[in-house]
Symmetry: C2
Subunit: 375 residues, 2 copies
């Protein structure tokens, strides 16, 4: 993917976030020359470059999402060092659409999906209420939503799976007046090999980013994550080691932050992939692994499938509506395995990996029950 101008509003994203990670200089340039990927050709975004500074929030957010999408596409292409995203733009029958970018069979990533969506339509007030909307009028309202979502399944079992999304939701009444609007999003990690120090790095990075905006963002976002990404049918085993998630963040809400301050927070969350996940890719890129590690990875991926198809609200919503199925199920791993009564003896690294799958105060360091390492 060709390079992009930096995110226009330079006030909030920390330059260190944009600069983090290693650029893989050996592979990047020749790859780019060899396989130039066309720029996204999407046209439905409400966008008037000349008017961005004064544009309504939804326009500014949508434009930022488009840039974030490109930035993160580039991030994963760089980290992959050889793979290439396939891009599909699609329109939703009810209005709006998306741009799905999927990297399959890359050098580093067996599958990475980087999606953007933007669109809207009429919805009943009851549905809007269920999404957490307030101050709703009687009758239908118009919604507009835009966001970026990512799932990445590395080839190496030593590199964890990562998932993130950021989204903006807005409701307008029939007369065009804005009724309600909010931000949501988050980032979480699913290791397929036990490196407790990776979880510590991931959480500390998220906490540092959150704390710059509000002291409650990290503890609230982490707790939401710990409660949500749970395979209740598997004795409440977590899908991974969590991260942060949030929804219905409004200006003047509990945190008494302005809408602009929340937008700045969401921008930092969107860019947190680089400092939170990038170093883990580099740290484990050259780790050796064999069939035992691969088998365990495929088995953990099976649990990932279970969570996404059985519990994940976004996936289930997508399956029940006219969403584009290939984008909804982009999160599923390229290969997964199921055993019967699979169990691991204490003292094995597989057992240790499973012991990581419960809520822990990762930002405080490696939890006591995971010390000393058994590897």
């Amino acid at each position: 993917m060709s390079s992009h101008a930096p995110i226009p509003d330079a006030r909030d994203p920390d330059p260190a976030l944009l600069a983090g990670g290693s650029p893989l200089p050996d592979l990047r340039a020749p790859f780019r020359e060899r396989q130039p990927r066309p720029r996204p050709g999407t046209t439905w975004l409400p966008e008037d470059p000349a008017a961005v500074e004064d544009a309504p929030l939804r326009v500014r957010v949508s434009r930022w999402m488009q840039r974030l999408h490109d930035t993160l596409t580039e991030f994963f292409e760089d980290r992959d060092g050889g793979g290439r995203f396939q891009e599909d733009a699609w329109l939703r029958p009810g209005g709006g659409g998306g741009v799905s970018r999927v990297l399959t069979d890359g050098h580093t990533f067996e599958k990475a999906g980087v999606n953007r969506f933007a669109g809207g339509g009429a919805i009943p007030s009851e549905v809007a209420a269920r999404l957490g909307a307030r101050d709703l009028p009687d009758g239908p309202v118009e919604f507009y939503a835009t966001g970026v979502s990512i799932v990445c399944h590395p080839r190496s079992p030593m590199i964890p799976i990562v998932h993130m999304n950021v989204r903006y939701f807005e409701l307008t009444a029939e007369d065009g007046s804005r009724v309600d609007y909010w931000f949501g999003g988050g980032l979480d990690l699913t290791p397929t090999h036990p490196f407790p120090e990776d979880a510590v790095h991931f959480h500390r990075t998220l906490k540092r980013i959150c704390d710059r905006h509000h002291p409650e963002f990290y503890p609230r976002g982490k707790s939401w994550c710990d409660r949500y990404f749970v395979n209740t049918h598997r004795d409440n085993e977590m899908r991974g080691i969590g991260g942060i998630f949030f929804d219905n963040l409004r200006g003047g809400g509990d945190e008494e932050l302005s809408t602009e301050a929340l937008f700045a927070f969401v921008r930092d969350v969107g860019l947190a992939m680089r400092p939170a996940y990038g170093p883990l890719v580099e740290r484990h890129r050259d780790d050796e692994w064999g069939t035992r590690e691969r088998d365990f990875q495929l088995y953990r991926r099976g649990r990932y499938v279970e969570f996404n198809l059985v519990h994940d609200r976004g996936t289930r919503f997508g399956l029940q509506t006219n969403a584009r199925i290939e984008s909804v199920l982009m999160s599923l791993p390229p290969l997964a395995r199921w055993g019967y009564c699979v169990d691991f003896d204490e003292g094995t690294w597989e057992h240790r990996a499973q012991e990581m799958l419960m809520p822990a105060d990762w930002a405080d360091g490696v939890p006591a029950h995971l010390l000393p390492p058994t590897r």
Copy 2:
């Protein structure tokens, strides 16, 4: 598994059904001597061998289910020719329990699960009504359920996946009087390679068995299957090529058959595995296949996972209750794969395989749109 006496009531099961298939004489005897498998040690079944002739229906059905379980375990061990079932008996906290038998990494079957359950407890009348019960009193009722269910994932992509279950359900009032009782069950096939003639064999066998009992059983059971095993989120693609399914079959119901006549039908359905599926295993046992066939099989297994986790009522019920999760998810394949926007050109055998995944009158022969073969 050691051999068993034939099903005691010899009146109804067609002896040809019991005798069908090939016994793999070369492998069977040494395997049995080498690895004797313990007999099931389950004790909660209401069973009094001396009283079986005069026993209540639930006792006779439960006893038959136990024998069917053994018979089908033996069927799959014989067909596998080397693999061995692992048996686990488990108790459900609310009452009753099951015996799960799983064959993993066999010669012929990558995974085969043969489960039996028997048990009951109190349920609210509303829940019973949702299951289709009639003549319910106010307040709670006691249920008793017993059944056998099977899912088999062959190693070779040329051999189709098979699924079956038979079940009996009974409700009693607080005074112990029987309120309602019915049978359910079925058998369906999921090919992972296009052999339309296999689907014809499977459906003709089921039709022949059904027609012996009532002319409406096959068309009704097939139609139910065609409507149920559908991935609605995948443009209504069927999970496989269907088969028969039925529920709430009661004596004196629409078919004006006695309870005994229905029990005889259910017994034949339980034994239909041998004539309907056995010949397909033998037909394709020695077919050659490579990575292209294997890849397609894993991809079709992905759709199987989607149906079972997203749509299957039994699985979803199991996930939401305190069912034994390893038995509920025994149906998931050992390995499955997901691609992104996977598509197959017309003229390829993969395309042909997908063209089989829509309702067709298989018992009438290969449908016109699948002729002539492109292989």
